[in-house]
């Protein structure tokens, strides 16, 4: 069993794993400089997780991957070839399940010149593809899944980790970002074929820099619509963000005031599109970026 500390910001993870696939992809996606393969007693991690591949009686020909955090196994096990993807999902679960010092919204966040765009989105909306389009235009990724908002502010803390791409979007994004780093593909997961993309160098470089939210975009991919933009009222924006906020219930009034403050101060748009470049172009125009 290997033990490695993954030093992401603002949380670090002590990962125990016996899966070479996991170690290989961790190194490829995060780079050796963010991994501590021989932790000593002066090193700590915020969270302790395991990704273990086991053969259990009855499934001798099919080893299974298990994700555990503090001895709790929140997911049904998966085939071992999906071990790395499972770890990434597991890390998202850990943060969503434990963190209450930020308001956490299920959304992607990208920024240019420290002005940030929030993309809350249910699966299948094209969020991750849109994310990559922004990166291709020089925006930095703060997060693909978990927006960490400091309560009662518009400040987002980056939590730079790979973006999860599914099915058709994999080829599309590889076309835009051919020189980026991709993980091994995990085929036939419950989300389809899945690949993780390491964010741009620019994203990694600014991983400690907070950004300030200015806009909320609800993307919906539709093959038949080029780019249809509808402005949202503040009340609609509030509802969208609230529906996607994991921990507003626990934060109570602080969560409510954070989200209402956000709705008051952010521009909101619903964008139906089949061309992600247009989404980026529109946002850049409204912000006065060339």
């Amino acid at each position: 069993m290997h033990e490695v500390i993954l030093n992401t910001h603002p949380f670090s993870f002590r990962i125990h794993t016996n899966a070479p696939l996991v170690l290989k992809n961790l190194e490829r996606i995060y780079g050796a400089e963010r991994l501590n393969f021989s932790p000593n007693s002066n090193d700590f991690a915020h969270y302790n997780v395991s990704l273990v591949i086991e053969r259990k009686l009855g499934r001798l020909w099919k080893p299974q991957a298990h994700f555990l955090c503090d001895e709790i196994e929140p997911f049904v096990p998966m085939d071992s070839d999906k071990a790395y993807a499972m770890l990434e999902w597991g890390l998202n679960w850990v943060v969503a399940a434990h963190e209450v010092n930020h308001a956490i919204v299920h959304a992607a966040v990208l920024a240019k010149e420290d002005k940030a765009v929030l993309l809350p989105a249910p699966p299948g909306s094209g969020k991750s593809t849109t994310c990559c389009a922004f990166m291709a235009h020089g925006w930095r990724l703060l997060s693909d899944e978990l927006a960490l908002i400091t309560p009662n502010t518009l400040t987002v803390t980056p939590f730079v980790r790979p973006a999860c791409l599914k099915n058709k979007s994999i080829e599309v994004v590889k076309g835009w970002l051919p020189n980026s780093v991709y993980s091994d593909i995990a085929r036939n997961t419950h989300k389809g074929d899945v690949v993780h993309l390491s964010p741009s160098e620019h994203s990694w470089k600014h991983r400690y820099h907070d950004a300030v939210l200015t806009t909320v975009v609800m993307p919906t991919y539709n093959a038949n619509t080029y780019c249809d933009i509808t402005p949202l009222t503040q009340r609609q924006t509030f509802q969208q963000v609230f529906d996607n906020c994991f921990n507003v219930g626990i934060l109570g009034q602080e969560g409510f005031s954070t989200l209402s403050h956000a709705a008051d101060n952010l521009e909101g748009y619903q964008i139906t599109f089949n061309n992600a470049d247009e989404v980026v172009a529109f946002i850049e125009e409204t912000h006065g970026f060339a």
């Binding site: 002066n42 700590f44 915020h46 049904v76 010092n101």
Partner: protein, 366 residues
């Protein structure tokens, strides 16, 4: 994993443990241990003043723990306020037990106390009507595997835990503190006379009643999951409420309800770990020495955290024996054997194949 001695753990609650000399890894493991024992929030409140000197990542976890505990305490008050009138329609007595009771009593006993279920004692005659009313209001049966569901309804004569479909709160309704089928279920009326009202007008067992119930829960149960935490509770109960009146009441309850051995056990280990004085009439010398040596073998091990960071010799064996004893206490032997076989077989299967093969719903990933 770091290793902590049991004495170090006890010293934490006495504020004698040398926390400043812990390495980063040791702090990390201590947080894991406390969280696993459901004591992290308690620790966070105990050390609220001093925590500014702890490493930042530890302060972060303590802050999370305090927020979660505060939210849970609020939730309990809401639920208790909603449940009391609903249950009163079918039962004269509506008494909160265990963790929920501690929260409702407030003070240090309440701060940081977290738990998974709300335990509520109502009359046997009213329990089924209450269940129906609750289901009508959005409470549903917590999914159990078929065997456990059958066990609850047939043998334990309690209803399985209910979970609120919207709020996610879990409610455990009881009509006694021990399954009647054991033949040891006390006359509930005498227990119900030991109640007290909180500042919010809700009913909880009196402190002496809570102590007795905690001891019964600890030593009569087949699984001792949070034994250490339960002893911390007993310690805090004693710290706040002990007085000649309290001991008098405790003696009276034992007279009417029984479970003297369980109370002696609870008090003995609380005294051992946390240095409190207990009256001679309830000391462990009241128990025959042969019996005592077996009980002590089991419990001095199983009451310590069952966690990789705390090394306790022969703990696995002791845990198994406690489990057997717990079963033994609860049921007549022919039923025990059946339960043991069915449940034991189930556990074996779960151990080999994983518990999730019995999950009825697949957890959703984000």
């Amino acid at each position: 994993m770091s290793q902590f001695s049991p004495q170090f753990l006890h010293d934490i609650w006495h504020k004698r443990a040398d926390l400043t000399s812990l390495s980063a890894k040791e702090w990390e493991d201590l947080v894991l241990l406390l969280r696993s024992e459901m004591l992290l929030a308690r620790f966070a409140y105990f050390y609220q003043q001093q925590s500014a000197e702890f490493p930042r990542f530890v302060q972060w976890h303590l802050s999370n723990a305090r927020k979660l505990a505060r939210k849970q305490a609020k939730q309990v008050l809401l639920e208790a306020t909603l449940l009391t009138p609903l249950c009163r329609a079918h039962s004269d007595s509506v008494v909160f037990l265990k963790g929920a009771a501690y929260t409702l009593l407030g003070g240090e006993l309440a701060q940081g106390r977290v738990y998974s279920d709300i335990d509520l004692l109502v009359s046997k005659a009213g329990i089924n009507s209450i269940e129906k009313d609750l289901v009508f209001r959005g409470w549903i049966s917590k999914p159990l595997n078929d065997y456990d569901d059958y066990y609850y309804r047939q043998w334990v004569h309690e209803i399985p835990p209910l979970i609120h479909s919207n709020r996610g709160t879990v409610l455990d309704l009881h009509h006694n503190i021990v399954p009647p089928i054991s033949g040891k279920a006390p006359n509930v009326d005498s227990l119900l006379s030991c109640v007290t009202e909180t500042d919010d007008g809700l009913t909880v067992l009196s402190p002496a009643g809570l102590l007795l119930h905690s001891c019964v829960h600890l030593f009569f149960n087949e699984e001792q999951e949070h034994g250490y935490r339960d002893l911390v509770d007993i310690w805090l109960l004693l710290t706040r409420y002990k007085s000649p009146d309290f001991w008098q009441q405790l003696h009276e309850i034992i007279e009417h309800v029984g479970f003297k051995t369980e109370v002696i056990l609870g008090l003995h280990y609380t005294a051992q770990f946390f240095e409190v004085d207990i009256p001679a009439s309830l000391s462990r010398h009241q128990i025959n020495s042969v019996r005592w040596s077996l009980l002590d073998f089991i419990y001095k091990r199983t009451l310590l955290p069952n966690h990789k960071t705390v090394k306790v010799s022969a703990q696995k064996l002791a845990i198994f024996m406690a489990w057997v004893r717990g079963h033994w206490c609860k049921m007549p032997i022919h039923i025990l054997l059946w339960h043991f076989i069915a449940k034991g077989g189930r556990k074996l299967a779960e151990g080999l194949f994983g518990t999730h093969i019995f999950k009825k719903t697949v957890p959703q990933q984000q």
